[in-house]
Each structure stands twice: as structure tokens, then as C-alpha cells.
């Protein structure tokens, strides 16, 4: 008998898909980029450099280590066109309103919609809007580490505008800011929404970033980049909710840089889209930073949800705590790659990471890889990973208390997710997510 096990675990490439020239495909996408208007004129050089970069690249295949478990073939089957923003009415987005987040920025298909946005009374220290709010341009845009990654560069090359959230030094802004990114799901359209968040030294605020789709079919591709820059001592509590339509392709990056003594808390919910990939990259630039990441991926049907996180320490006394949970049902596929990088300079780092995965169906699949790369010796780093199903004992216990097996499973699954959902700082959003979660666990 001969058992074939290759040195590198086998890649899953779609077999039947016709061959696509991945370089030409990417190159075509960048040629579709829109024209810059006056507000974005400062971006020209940056866009041109990124365009040149993208021209040399190809769409990644599963042969690339970073994309081994996420097959982009379905994307290659679509012939994307630049999105033509559809005017939408204020009624259309009423369901997404958050009463406890009065400052709302709305972007429709990557374009700022001032008529739908409600900025409220803001002091000059808090700037919300798009690039036209900052006439001098934003020097930080496109400067983060990792900006040369293919899809980030594609976004940089094609972006025409960006959401801007700028909180000045020492400003402790109490009311949460809601950034709503709406996709109108036209057929095979591509948009490159961008967002720049600047928290100057000593500032504090809460940001809710939400990705939604309006009703309608069509495979829209959203290629998102959010850059967050935390000054010394700044605190940002960031909630990212991705619940886009069932045919959407969502490739997103959140790049965070943290100066000394800053604190970044992220709660990332990933439930929507047919294929979703999120790069969550934290770069420490000063000592003694704190990073707390909570992630929940909830998948069903044939969804694929991929989270690639990176916490790169470069200075001493950093702290990181990451919990990533995946609940995978039906024939869905969850991927997690969590890298913690501790070079020699980052002594006294304290980092922990936990990847927990719950498989609800026999056809569901999980590929997880928590990854530690450490060169400093005076550190404490740990990671853990589990893949399992619900404990039969726990189900039995609940049954013995008169709860039906079905109900018991829902309760336990809900509890598994609750640890992350409860970290959402806004009561209205938290309650909404909870009820959606219950609905999803119990469609009847």
C-alpha cells in the first residue's frame, strides 16, 4: 500500500477552473482605477507608485504560503468592473442605525455620502469625513508597514477617496463613532474603500466599523484597507463587523501602528460574504503598548472565512492578548493564521494567543496555525489552539435539566460566541449582534 503524504500538506486548488493568467488578471484590475478628483489630488504619486507595484504582481495562488488555504479561484471567474455608485435612500440604511453612536459616516460603494452621514456637533479636535476635510492631505496614508502587500497596494493604486477620522491630541471623545460601509451589490463590481484613522497622543475614542450589503444579487468585491495610527498614550476601541451579502467577496486589511503606551482593543466579527479574508496587522513602534484582539468568525453554507493576524513587537514591555474563535457549520471553511513576532529588541514582552474552533457539521473544515517567532529571551509567550465539537457531557447535563438537545446545543454554541460578542462596547450593537446570532443558530 502506498500512502502519499507530501512534505508540505497539500494545497487545495480548484480543479475544474480554467487557467487564468494571474498577473494579467491583476494588471487588468488596476487599469480600471477611477480618476482622482480635487480632494484626492494629493494621492497621485502614491497611487502611481502602488500601480507600478501591482503591475509586477500576480493574484496569489494557493501555492503561496500566505494563501495556502484560501483559494481565490472563484474571484478569478468573475470579470469585475469598477463600481458605479448607486444612490440610496436614507430609508435603506435605517436598519443599520445605532442610537448610541450619533456620529455616523456613511460610504456607499467606496464613495462618501454626506447626505446619509450625521456628523453632529463636533469640536475642531475631532475631524470626521472624507479627504476633502483635510485640505493639506494626510501624510500617513499608505505609509504603514505591509502597505506593499498585493491587495493593499491594489487599494492604494485604485482609491479615489478615503474616510478620515482624526482625533487631536489629548482629546478624550466619549461618544462612539460609527463608520458604515455599504455595498449595493451590483453584479461583479469592484470597490476599494479606504479609511484613515489618526488618534493623536493621549486621545481616546471608540470606533465602530461596519460592512453591510443592501438587498440584491451579484458578486461584489470589496477590497478594503483601514489604517489606524495611535500616538503615544492613545486608546482606541475598535469594533469591526463584517456581515456582507452571501455573494460578496471581502478582502480587508486593518493595519495598526501603536506608539508608546498606547492601547488598542479590537473586536472583529466576521460572518458575512462568500469569501472573506481579513488581515489584521499590529505594528508596535514604541515601548509598553497593549493590544487586545477578540475575533469571532461565524460561517455556514459554503462560506470561507480567513483571518490572518500579525502582532509585530519591536520594543520592550509590550503586551498582547488575542482570542480568535470560529464556529463553522455546513460545508464552510475557516482559516486562521496568527503570527506573533518578537525580535531581540522586544524584551519583556508578554503575549498570549488562543485559537478556538467549534465544528458543527461533518463537512465543516478548519485550518488553524498559531505561530510564534521569537528571538528575545526575556519574554513570556504562549499560544493554544483547540478544534472540537460541543461536549456531549455538557449537552447531556442540560438535557437532564429538561432542556431539549437541540436547545442545549444552541445555548452552548451561543455561549461559545458570547465571550467575543460581549466585548462589543456599544449596547445597541451588542444586542443586535446577539439577536442575530440567536437567529442564525436557530433559523426556525
Amino acid at each position: 500500500m502506498s500512502i502519499q503524504v507530501s512534505m508540505v500538506p497539500d494545497a487545495t486548488e480548484t480543479v475544474n477552473a480554467p487557467r487564468v493568467d494571474r498577473a494579467a488578471y491583476l494588471s487588468r484590475l488596476v487599469q480600471l482605477r477611477g480618476e482622482l478628483d480635487a480632494a484626492g489630488s494629493g494621492l497621485k504619486d502614491l497611487r502611481d507608485r502602488a500601480t507600478a507595484l501591482v503591475q509586477e504582481r500576480a493574484m496569489p495562488s494557493t501555492r503561496a504560503e500566505e494563501w495556502r488555504f484560501t483559494d481565490l479561484s472563484p474571484l478569478l471567474q468573475e470579470s469585475f468592473q469598477p463600481v458605479v455608485p448607486q444612490p440610496i435612500t436614507a430609508e435603506a440604511i435605517i436598519p443599520f442605525g445605532l442610537t448610541d453612536a450619533p456620529h455616523r459616516l456613511v460610504f456607499v460603494d467606496g464613495v462618501y455620502a454626506p447626505s446619509l452621514s450625521t456628523l453632529g456637533d463636533l469640536p475642531p479636535e475631532v475631524q470626521l469625513g472624507n479627504l476633502s476635510r483635510v485640505p493639506g492631505g494626510i501624510p500617513h496614508i499608505g505609509q504603514h508597514q505591509g502597505a506593499e502587500e498585493t491587495f493593499t497596494a491594489l487599494n492604494t493604486a485604485c482609491m479615489t477617496d478615503a474616510a478620515v477620522i482624526w482625533v487631536a491630541q489629548g482629546q478624550e471623545w466619549r461618544t462612539p463613532i460609527h463608520l458604515l460601509v455599504v455595498t449595493t451589490t451590483g453584479a461583479a463590481t469592484l470597490s476599494h474603500p479606504r479609511c484613515v484613522v489618526i488618534a493623536e497622543a493621549g486621545s481616546q475614542f471608540t470606533l465602530i466599523e461596519e460592512f453591510v450589503s443592501l438587498e440584491g444579487g451579484g458578486a461584489a468585491w470589496v477590497n478594503r484597507v483601514t489604517e489606524i495610527k495611535l500616538g503615544a498614550g492613545a486608546t482606541v476601541n475598535h469594533t469591526r463587523v463584517q456581515r456582507q451579502g452571501a455573494h460578496t467577496f471581502h478582502i480587508g486589511k486593518t493595519a495598526v501602528s501603536q506608539a508608546r503606551d498606547s492601547r488598542y482593543v479590537a473586536t472583529v466579527l466576521n460572518w458575512g460574504a462568500h469569501l472573506a479574508r481579513h488581515h489584521l496587522e499590529i505594528y508596535q513602534t514604541g515601548a509598553q503598548t497593549a493590544t487586545i484582539l477578540n475575533g469571532l468568525t461565524l460561517l455556514q453554507g459554503e462560506q470561507l472565512g480567513d483571518t490572518h493576524s500579525l502582532i509585530a513587537f519591536t520594543q520592550p514591555y509590550g503586551m498582547a492578548n488575542q482570542v480568535q474563535k470560529c464556529i463553522v457549520g455546513d460545508r464552510a471553511h475557516a482559516v486562521f493564521n496568527g503570527k506573533i513576532w518578537v525580535p531581540q529588541a522586544a524584551q519583556l514582552t508578554n503575549a498570549s494567543q488562543l485559537s478556538r474552533n467549534l465544528l458543527l457539521s461533518p463537512r465543516a473544515r478548519v485550518d488553524t496555525k498559531p505561530q510564534l517567532e521569537i528571538t528575545a529571551d526575556n519574554v513570556k509567550c504562549s499560544h493554544g489552539a483547540t478544534v472540537s465539537q460541543l461536549e456531549e457531557d455538557e449537552v447531556f447535563y442540560l438535557q437532564s435539566r429538561g432542556i431539549s438537545a437541540e436547545m442545549a446545543r444552541q445555548l452552548l454554541t451561543f455561549a461559545f460566541a458570547a465571550e467575543v460578542v460581549d466585548a462589543i462596547p456599544l449596547p445597541t450593537l451588542r444586542d443586535r449582534i446577539r439577536s442575530e446570532l440567536s437567529l442564525r443558530l436557530n433559523p426556525a
Partner: protein, 500 residues
């Protein structure tokens, strides 16, 4: 003076005495003691010219008087190898290997066929004496059968008759090819196919010798089997092939040890080990790897690129790998278990120690295919100096691995702030009835504990040794007794001078 060496009870007693004495003196003596197996035996060898082509493959096969099918196997592997490219995904850096600059066959010259140990070249026996493997007269002392491999060929196998009484076959693979061709043909390449990976293909084409073990049905192998590998020729690569077959209901414990002389050049060691366990069979495979690691500036040393894989083919079978990796400039190996039989068990216990400029990318793969298969992974990495130590593991549950279970634990210890410890665990699950648990931690050697030991009058170096052996205890407990003592000793030796 204590000679660290594997396998001997006598050694163990010596050590126990030595332990009772104040340790510092002993450790001091051992400090700065460089790699002690670094001598070269001046022995006439029969080596072929450098380089690799089809003729070399044919020549190796001819020299070993192999059957026709074996030559075919080698040539298929060679042609496959030509089509493959050297992998680059490992976390190690090294200059490109020139495969034409390697001697693919080197054997101690034999004047005529040996009938017994007495006829083996005395100089060769002396070499093995130096290594602590006295082949000739230890029969009454030990209960370990040894197959010694010098450069490319097996020079002597002890205890053959005693093993034969039980029907156990333990011999060099060349001998097995001549005397048990059907058995070898049935299993060779069945676990590691020739196209498996670049180095396995190369090995399949040019392997020169190795051990063959066959345990018949319902037989408990009466003694530990052991192979000792030695590279002597400065230009030769070593490509050995080990095949162990455990028939239904049998069990065997196998040990492997390796050393090489010191040369400034890097030498390639690309071995393949295949284990097959049928129904209810059990194989325990232990390795203490101490190839020459290069000097403290990273010059020289062995490239240890090895493919080791066990196939739990039968129900309730079990394969257990235990490894202590201290040598080699670069270690790159993943002893794996393919758990096909229902209820089969795979185990992996590893201590990997790197110092100076050594690089190790090692771990395991547990591929669960059958129902209720279970695996355990315990990996301890220690990196000191400028070394890189990576754990890379795969735990894979196929869709039919109902009720599969895995527990993994990999801990790393860093000594010095220039050393690197990495963990790359891949977990791939395609069944919702299994359970995987993985945990890993990285930390430095505890200063409080060191301080505590020092204030009890224990020197810093002894304190470090003690803590290292505590850290590795879970793995050492899996080793046969003599090996465990040896391994413990080896680690403290290797770490001399890296603390404080």
C-alpha cells in the same frame, strides 16, 4: 574521564558513581571540551568519484550486487529527482548545495567477505570503541544488538543468531536485499514513496546502506535493536535507508545514534526511515542525533535532511518516535505517523537543542485517517547562542477520522537574547467528531529558580543543567534508560559556556 556514549549499562554505572561526587569538577572538566567524536579514522576506503548521474546510480547498485528491480527503483527515483526542485520553505538559511560535489558511495575497503566480528578490520573496531560501541565483546554486558554503519556501508551486526532464534531479522539493508528480497520489495518505498520530496527522491536513488528489521507475527523482540551511524569520509554524503516492519501482534524498540568527524565543509545527510506497523503491532523508534554541528562560528557541520515516517497500517497499532536532536549544522526533519488503522496511536517526543549557529526546523506530522486514532506530541526546544530552533508540526484529521484525538504541547526555552525560537503548528481538521488541543509556550530559563539553586550552593552551570533536564523530563522518560542518561549528559555538555 567520562565518555558519553550510548547504550551501555557499564556506562550507566560509571555515571552513577560520578554523580555522587561533587558535580562541579566533572562539569569543569567537560567545559571547553569540544565535539569529542570529531576524529577521523585513517582507513582505506573504497570511494567512487564525486558527482551524480545515472552511471553512478548503476555503479552503486552494481557494487551492492542488487537485484534488477532495485536498480529500476533507483533509476526511477533518480529521474524523478531530476524533475524536482529543492524546497525553500524551511526556516533555515544555507548556501546552495552542489550535488555534483558529493561522493555518493564510500565504504571501508574489505579484502574478503567477513565471517565473524573477529575478521573486521581492527582499526575499524577501534573506531567504534572510541565511540563507545564495542562491537566485539559486550555480549555479556548488554542486551542491545547493534548494526554499525560506517560511511555508506554496514560493517557489523551483532547478536544476529540470537535474534534469528525468534525469527527476527536484523541486518543491513544490502544484506536484506540479497537474502530477503521479497520482504524488502514489498515494503520499500511504501511509506515514503520515491516522489515524496526532493531529499527522499535523492535518497531512493543513491542510498547505500541502512538497517532492515523484520519482526514476525506475535513476536516481542527480545532485545533493543540499535544502529550506529558514522560518517568518516570528508567528502561523502550519507544516504542511509532504514526499514522496519512489525507484523501483526509484534513489538520492537529500536535505537539510533549518529556522529561524524569535524570537517570545515558541510556534509549532506539525507536519510529515509520507513516504519510499518500491522495489526496490534508496536514500534518504538528512538534517536540520539549528535552529528558534527560545526564550530562555534557556524563553519562546517552536517546538513541533516531526513524523511522519517511511520505507517500505522493495522488496527490498534502504535508507532512512537522519540528524538534527542543536538547535533548537525542544520536539522530538518519531521518524523511522522500516518494513522490508517482504526484505533491506531502515534506519538512524538522530541528534545531539540541548538547552540552557536545551528539551525533546526523539526517537528512532526500526525495524519489521522482511521477511526478513533490518537496522537500525542511533546516537543521541547532549547535555543542558545545564535541558533534558530523551530517547531513545525502538522495535525491533520481527514473526513473519515471519526473520534480522532490529538494533544500537542511544544515548549521553547531561550538561552541568550540572540537565539531564536519559532513555532509553526498547522492544524487541519475536516471532521466534527475529533478533538485537537495544542499549546505552546516560550520563555527564558527562570532567573528565580537559578538563583534559588545557586543559593543552595549549586554552581550556575549545574543549575542550568538541572533545569534543562527538568524541562526535558517528559521526553527523556520515553527513552530507554541508558539512552536517557546519555541524552541528559549530552545536553549539559552542549550547553557549556552558553550561560552566564
Amino acid at each position: 574521564m567520562l565518555q558519553p556514549s550510548p547504550l551501555l549499562h557499564e556506562r550507566f554505572i560509571l555515571l552513577a558513581v560520578e554523580r555522587a561526587l561533587p558535580m562541579t569538577a566533572t562539569v569543569q572538566n567537560l567545559v571547553n571540551q569540544p565535539y569529542k567524536y570529531g576524529f577521523v579514522t585513517d582507513i582505506e576506503s573504497d570511494a567512487i568519484p564525486k558527482g551524480l548521474n545515472e552511471d553512478v546510480v548503476r555503479l552503486i547498485s552494481a557494487k551492492k550486487q542488487e537485484p534488477e528491480w532495485m536498480l529500476e527503483f533507483r533509476l526511477r527515483a533518480y529521474r524523478q529527482w531530476l524533475k524536482m526542485t529543492e524546497p525553500t520553505w524551511q526556516h533555515a538559511t544555507y548556501p546552495a548545495i552542489d550535488y555534483q560535489d558529493i561522493v555518493y558511495y564510500s565504504a571501508p575497503k574489505v579484502k574478503e567477505k567477513k565471517k565473524s566480528l573477529e575478521e573486521v578490520d581492527p582499526q575499524l573496531l577501534e573506531t567504534f570503541e572510541k565511540l563507545g560501541i564495542p562491537l566485539s565483546e559486550q555480549k555479556r554486558l548488554t542486551n542491545v544488538a547493534v548494526d554499525a554503519i560506517f560511511d555508506s556501508v554496514s560493517v557489523a551486526t551483532t547478536f544476529k543468531e540470537k535474534l534469528a532464534e525468534q525469527g527476527v531479522i536484523f541486518c543491513s539493508i544490502s544484506e536484506a536485499l540479497r537474502e530477503h528480497p521479497d520482504l524488502v520489495r514489498q515494503y520499500l518505498g511504501s511509506v515514503v514513496p520515491i516522489a515524496d520530496n526532493y531529499f527522499a527522491a535523492l535518497n531512493s536513488a543513491v542510498f547505500s546502506d541502512g538497517s532492515f528489521v523484520y519482526i514476525p507475527k506475535d513476536t516481542q523482540c527480545p532485545m533493543e535493536l540499535s544502529t550506529y551511524f558514522r560518517i568518516n569520509n570528508g567528502e561523502s554524503g550519507q544516504f542511509e535507508r532504514t526499514l522496519i516492519v512489525a507484523e501483526a501482534g509484534s513489538s520492537v524498540s529500536y535505537l539510533e545514534g549518529c556522529t561524524a568527524p569535524m570537517y570545515d565543509t558541510n556534509q549532506l545527510h539525507a536519510a529515509v526511515v520507513e516504519l510499518v506497523a500491522l495489526d496490534h503491532a508496536e514500534i518504538k523508534y528512538s534517536t540520539v542525533q549528535n552529528w558534527y554541528a560545526g564550530d562555534k562560528d557556524g563553519k562546517g557541520g552536517i546538513y541533516n535532511f531526513v524523511t522519517k515516517r511511520g505507517l500505522c497500517q493495522g488496527v490498534n497499532s502504535k508507532i512512537s518516535w522519540t528524538q534527542v536532536e543536538t547535533g548537525s549544522a542544520i536539522t530538518w526533519k519531521y518524523p511522522s505517523c500516518v494513522l490508517v488503522g482504526d484505533n491506531s496511536i502515534g506519538e512524538f517526543y522530541s528534545v531539540a537543542l541548538t547552540n552557536h549557529h545551528q539551525q533546526a526546523d523539526t517537528g512532526t506530522k500526525m495524519v489521522h485517517i482511521g477511526k478513533n486514532t490518537r496522537s500525542t506530541i511533546i516537543s521541547k526546544g532549547i535555543s542558545a547562542g545564535h541558533s534558530k530552533n523551530s517547531y513545525r508540526g502538522l495535525v491533520k484529521f481527514g473526513p473519515k477520522a471519526i473520534g480522532a484525538r490529538n494533544y500537542s504541547q511544544c515548549d521553547s526555552m531561550l538561552i541568550g537574547d540572540r537565539a531564536e525560537a519559532n513555532t509553526f503548528p498547522y492544524i487541519q481538521v475536516q471532521t466534527n467528531t475529533g478533538k485537537v488541543e495544542h499549546e505552546a509556550s516560550t520563555s527564558k530559563i527562570g532567573e528565580d529558580q537559578l538563583f534559588y539553586l545557586q543559593q543552595r550552593g549549586i554552581s550556575l552551570e549545574d543549575a542550568v543543567s538541572m533545569m534543562i533536564s527538568g524541562f526535558c523530563k517528559d521526553v527523556f522518560n520515553q527513552l530507554p534508560m541508558e539512552f536517557a542518561v546519555e541524552a541528559d549528559r549530552l545536553l549539559s555538555l552542549k550547553l557549556e559556556g552558553s550561560v552566564g
